[in-house]
Each structure stands twice: as structure tokens, then as C-alpha cells.
């Protein structure tokens, strides 16, 4: 049976509860075990830290989808000043699974885009679980072209299970909408920084990840398709998703090793939601530093570097 829920924290809390009971009990019996307890407490902390440094790929997937995980809007509101959200694709509608607007970071105006998941069922129904329709990708295209016009760098935050698979999405051209964003971003004449904050799911995530720098939070994942889908398609067994998660090489470290991600932004022990401010602050520092570096590169050179980077992805043999 595949574990669908990241339950380490609950188990750890149980252990802590038992530990406190034990302390209470020994006090009531007037056993002096202070030193022993101190040792045990430290050992417990160490084990927890160690656990989070050695999560399996599947556990990272579960963490990246955790119901308490900060959403893209949380990060935007913390990291940027003067955030003004813009709406609509000027064609069909406003996709609430994809948010975008203008803001500033350390005084520099930027265009910000990201997938928006919700917290809880109601919010998730409102944001369609962070799964955009074509109008979401057309909103992206509109706002990145606007960013180029006003010479504003672009920052994107990626957190989606994927583009929405539905009748309306197909009728309105999901494939073409994603393809055009990929093409437009590849030569957009302003610096682009992308961050995977949670779930990087398939082409719907990739559309926001074409960039000069790709950062990933340490518990985020980026995958060609969900581990569940891959297991059911390749192995005809969705129950082997956990095994598939490891085979796909989808953790932040894997993606960096493959030469696709540039930097990993460490999350606190327990994940980003355990200390949001710290995580967001770290991310802000990284975004700021990367932006400074990219702004220092001559524009023509920047575009050349972006192209070279994209062009060389892939491995094969040639006889």
C-alpha cells in the first residue's frame, strides 16, 4: 500500500508525548534521570534532523504536496513589496490557478507569476488545485511580453500537479498555450528567475521554469509526470508509485545533478511550513542575489547563455 500522507511529524509528536509522560512519571517517583533525559532528548532531535536530511523521493513528494505547505501567494506577499495582482488573458477569462502581477524586490520592479494552490477544499476548488487552463498560460504570455516591453525582470514560482486535463482545457488549446509560453520565455529579453516551491508537475510546471536561473526549495520536486501516472503507465501498477518516485530522479538534488536546477534553497527541519518566515527570507536573499548577478550580464550575452543552457539539455550517444 502506498503511503499517501506524510505522517512522520505525527509519529514524532507521539514519541515526544510519551517522553514527557516518562519524565513526569520519573519525577513523581523522585528518580533523578535529568542527565539521561537530556541525552535522550538530544538524540531524538538528532534523529529527526537526520530524517529530514534523508527523506526518500516519495516522502519529498508528500511533503511538497503537504496541506500546510506555504502557497505561492504566501511567498509573493512576504518576499515582494508593492505587489499588485493583474488579472485575465484578454481572451476568455481569469485563471485563478495562475496568478501574476507587478511588484518590487529590494526596490527593483519585477513581473511575478506563479501557480496558486489553495489551503483546504474550498480554496482549492477556487484555485482548481493549482492546475491552470489555457487562459492561465495566455495570462502568463501577456504578462511576460509586458515585462519585456517595460524591461522588467521576470520571477516565477512553480507549484502545480500539472496543467488541467479537461474538456474545456482541450477545447481552448492547452497544448498550444503551453508551447507558446515555452517559446516566448526562451528568448524574452529580460532576466528570468524561476523557483520550484512545491510540486513541479509536468509540462504545466515547465511552462514557468524556462529561465536563466532555476532554484528549487530542498523538499520540492520536479517531474516529467506524476510518479503515480508513470507507475500506472509504465508498470501498469499505480501502487508502485513510491518505487517509481525514486526511479524518476525528481528531487531537488537529482534535478541539480542533472544540470537542470542551479541552486537548492534549504528548508528548515520539518519542511518550509515549520518555519515559513525563515524559508521565505532565505528565498528572498537568493532571488535578490541572483537578480543582481543577472542584471550585471550584458543582455545579448544573457540571451545567448539561456539558449546554450536549453540547447544542451539531454544525453545520448552518437556513432
Amino acid at each position: 500500500m502506498v503511503k499517501r500522507h506524510f505522517d512522520y511529524e505525527e509519529k514524532y509528536r507521539n514519541l515526544q508525548g510519551k517522553f514527557e509522560e516518562l519524565q513526569e512519571l520519573s519525577r513523581s517517583l523522585q528518580f533523578d534521570l535529568t542527565d539521561e533525559f537530556k541525552l535522550l532528548e538530544e538524540k531524538m532531535k538528532d534523529i529527526r534532523v537526520n530524517k529530514y536530511q534523508n527523506l526518500t523521493a516519495w516522502e519529498k513528494i508528500l511533503l511538497s504536496r503537504h496541506s500546510e505547505r506555504p502557497t505561492v501567494r504566501d511567498y509573493i506577499e512576504f518576499i515582494f513589496d508593492d505587489w499588485i495582482e493583474m488579472h485575465g488573458d484578454r481572451c476568455y477569462g481569469d485563471d485563478r490557478a495562475m496568478i501574476g502581477g507587478i511588484a518590487s524586490i529590494k526596490g527593483i520592479p519585477v513581473t511575478v507569476l506563479g501557480h496558486q494552490k489553495g489551503r483546504g477544499t474550498n480554496e482549492n476548488l477556487h484555485t482548481n488545485f493549482g492546475m491552470p487552463h489555457p487562459e492561465g498560460y495566455r495570462k502568463v504570455e501577456r504578462l511576460i511580453l509586458q515585462a519585456e516591453k517595460f524591461n522588467r525582470p521576470v520571477m516565477t514560482l512553480v507549484d502545480t500537479p500539472g496543467a488541467y486535463p479537461g474538456v474545456g482545457a482541450e477545447e481552448r488549446g492547452q497544448a498550444g498555450a503551453i508551447a507558446r509560453v515555452l517559446m516566448t520565455l526562451s528568448s524574452l529579453k529580460v532576466p528570468i528567475i524561476a523557483v520550484v516551491t512545491g510540486e513541479g508537475g509536468s509540462g504545466g510546471a515547465l511552462a514557468l521554469a524556462v529561465s536563466d536561473r532555476l532554484l528549487m526549495l530542498s523538499n520540492s520536486v520536479f517531474s516529467v509526470a506524476s510518479a503515480e501516472a508513470c507507475a500506472s503507465i509504465i508498470w501498469k501498477d499505480a501502487g508502485r508509485a513510491e518505487e517509481m518516485a525514486s526511479a524518476l530522479r525528481l528531487t531537488a538534488q537529482d534535478i541539480k545533478d542533472l544540470g537542470i536546477a542551479d541552486e537548492i534553497v534549504e528548508e528548515p527541519t520539518g519542511g518550509a511550513h515549520k518555519d515559513f518566515e525563515n524559508t521565505a527570507q532565505n528565498l528572498q536573499d537568493r532571488l535578490d542575489r541572483n537578480l543582481q548577478e543577472l542584471l550585471a550580464i550584458e543582455r545579448h550575452e544573457l540571451l545567448q547563455q539561456r539558449y546554450t543552457r536549453l540547447r544542451h539539455i539531454g544525453r545520448f550517444q552518437e556513432n
Binding site: 496543467a163 488541467y164 486535463p165 479537461g166 474538456v167 482545457a169 482541450e170 477545447e171 481552448r172 488549446g173 492547452q174 497544448a175 498550444g176 503551453i178 508551447a179 507558446r180 515555452l182 517559446m183 516566448t184 526562451s186 528568448s187 509536468s202 509540462g203 515547465l206 521554469a209 524556462v210 520536479f222 517531474s223 516529467v224 509526470a225 501516472a229 508513470c230 503507465i233 509504465i234 526511479a247 524518476l248 530522479r249 525528481l250 537529482d254 534535478i255 542533472l258 537542470i260 539558449y307 536549453l310 540547447r311 539539455i313 539531454g314 544525453r315 545520448f316 550517444q317 552518437e318 556513432n319
Partner: protein, 286 residues
């Protein structure tokens, strides 16, 4: 009745008729059309460009058959045929899958690219073969697409890519997903030069190929009845648990919703491509 008069005696078939060809052993296996159940011989299918003469059902075509259909006789010269996939993630079973696909198709990968003439006009032509792991796009397909684009740009001649793909090659993980970005970036450079790119969507064109190079053409043609879309119909059915419209994601549906320029059946495909090349003055804008 005549039949009664002759009893059980066998009729002598008229030369050229189906019965005649059968009796002469000129038709081997008889196949039933999956769409209308009419019996069709291999020969008849081949002569009719693998289209059912009764219902116009388009059978799937191999990459080489597609080249034969579009390129002028003897004009096609393949390039980059030596590119082969490697199991870069040590993905379980991928080596066996590749070996199986290679021996089944005689191809090194799911895409053939080369230079040819079409109606006398020089062009770069790429065709995909869905027998090769559903013509999924991994590093090799992505690289060959990019090289074909670059070759067309170098020679300032039109590019014609015939897509048929189930999407990204999952066995190559994120390296396969990134081929979407890679091919899209190469096409951006191509378009900047004012060159012509015609995309033909054949059955099936879905997932990562639909959401990248196959959708980024100046002119998008589709074969009748081809499945075209981003998400596969099974995934959509699971997600929305509704009955889907009958023509859902078929080429005709995509035409109705404005996603393709034209549906072109096989017997007139080469002619259509030639006319388009002629109207673009050979597609050489350099």
C-alpha cells in the same frame, strides 16, 4: 437462379477483381478495417496510402512510409541517424524497451530526419514512428528535432515535421521534459529568420510533443481522425468522470475549435504541401 444452375461449382474470377487476386495469391493477409470492418488486403491498403477505401480510416504509417508519401522519389537523404538513446537514469527496464523497439522497427529512434525535395522544392523533413515506444520524446528525439531545425535554418529552406507521439519519454525523467523547452527555443530562432515551418499532426499527437514543437508551426495540418491534444482522453475521463463528446480530441474537433489550419487526407497530402511551398515561393526568405 444462376447460382442454382451451377450448383456448387466454383466461379472463375474476373481478372483484376478481388477474387482473381486472391486466387492468384496476390493478396496475403486480409485485414478488417478497425473503423468499418471492411476486409482490406495489404496490397489494396498500400496502393491507397494506407487509407480504408470504404470509410477513409487512416491506418498508422511508419516513418519511412510517411517519407515515401511526401518526399519526391529517391530524394530523401537521412541525417543524424546515428543518434541513440542511453539509459541515463538507470531506469529499470529502459534498456530492454529500447532494444525491443529497435529490433521491431529497424530504427535507431522514433524520429527520422533528413533533407529531400517536395515537388522539386528543397526541404527538411522529419517523420515520427509510433511503433518506437509510442514515439515518445526523449533526449534523442529532442536533439534530432533541434538539428533538423538548425539544418533548415542553415540552408534557409522550409521545415516539415510530421508528429506522432504519446508525449515525453518518462524513462528519461526531467531530461525528457526539458526537450519541450529545447525544441521550442530552437524554433524561436528559426522563426526569427522568416523561414517556413509546416507541422503535420498525425495519430496520436499528445502530451509533450503537442505542447511544444508540433504546435509552434506557421501552418498546422492534421490527418483525418487523428487524436490530438495535451492530456490523454483516459486521464481526462478519470479526472472529470463524465462521458466525453464523441469526436473529442479528434482532428475534426481540433479544427472546429480553431487549433489546426486544415485537415488533409493522405491521397492529397503531398499535393497540399507542394502548393504551400509554391505559395511561399519555395519557403526561402533569405
Amino acid at each position: 437462379m444462376l447460382k442454382n444452375a451451377f450448383g456448387k461449382q466454383k466461379l472463375i474470377p474476373v481478372p483484376g477483381s478481388r477474387e482473381y487476386m486472391e486466387s492468384e495469391g496476390r493478396i496475403s493477409a486480409q485485414e478488417k478495417c478497425p473503423s468499418c470492418s471492411r476486409r482490406i488486403s495489404e496490397l489494396e491498403l498500400k496502393e491507397n496510402h494506407k487509407v480504408c477505401p470504404e470509410c477513409q480510416y487512416h491506418y498508422s504509417m511508419t516513418a519511412w512510409e510517411r517519407i515515401e508519401l511526401i518526399a519526391d522519389d529517391q530524394s530523401f537523404q537521412e541525417f543524424n541517424s546515428g543518434l541513440r538513446s542511453i539509459n541515463l537514469l538507470d531506469f529499470p527496464g529502459y534498456n530492454e524497451k529500447l532494444t525491443g523497439a529497435i529490433s521491431k522497427t529497424g530504427l535507431n529512434e522514433a524520429l527520422i530526419t533528413g533533407q529531400c525535395t517536395i515537388g522539386g522544392y528543397p526541404a527538411i523533413l522529419g517523420t515520427m514512428d509510433s511503433r518506437f515506444m509510442m514515439a515518445s520524446m526523449g533526449s534523442v528525439v529532442g536533439e534530432k528535432v533541434c538539428r533538423a531545425i538548425e539544418k533548415a535554418a542553415d540552408l534557409k529552406i522550409p521545415l516539415i515535421l510530421c508528429a506522432a507521439s504519446g508525449g515525453a519519454r518518462m524513462q528519461e525523467g526531467m531530461l525528457s521534459l526539458m526537450q519541450m523547452a529545447k525544441t521550442s527555443a530552437a524554433l524561436d530562432k528559426f522563426h526569427e529568420q522568416g523561414l517556413l515551418y509546416i507541422s503535420l499532426l498525425t495519430n496520436p499527437t499528445t502530451g509533450g510533443v503537442a505542447a511544444s514543437f508540433a504546435s509552434l508551426a506557421d501552418i498546422i495540418l492534421a490527418e483525418p481522425g487523428a487524436l490530438i491534444g495535451f492530456a490523454g482522453p483516459r486521464v481526462i475521463k478519470q479526472t472529470i468522470s463524465e462521458i466525453l463528446p464523441e469526436d473529442f480530441q479528434k482532428a475534426e474537433f481540433m479544427l472546429k475549435h480553431g487549433m489546426v489550419d486544415k485537415i488533409v487526407s493522405r491521397p492529397v497530402l503531398k499535393d497540399m504541401v507542394e502548393r504551400l511551398l509554391r505559395l511561399h515561393l519555395g519557403g526561402n526568405n533569405g
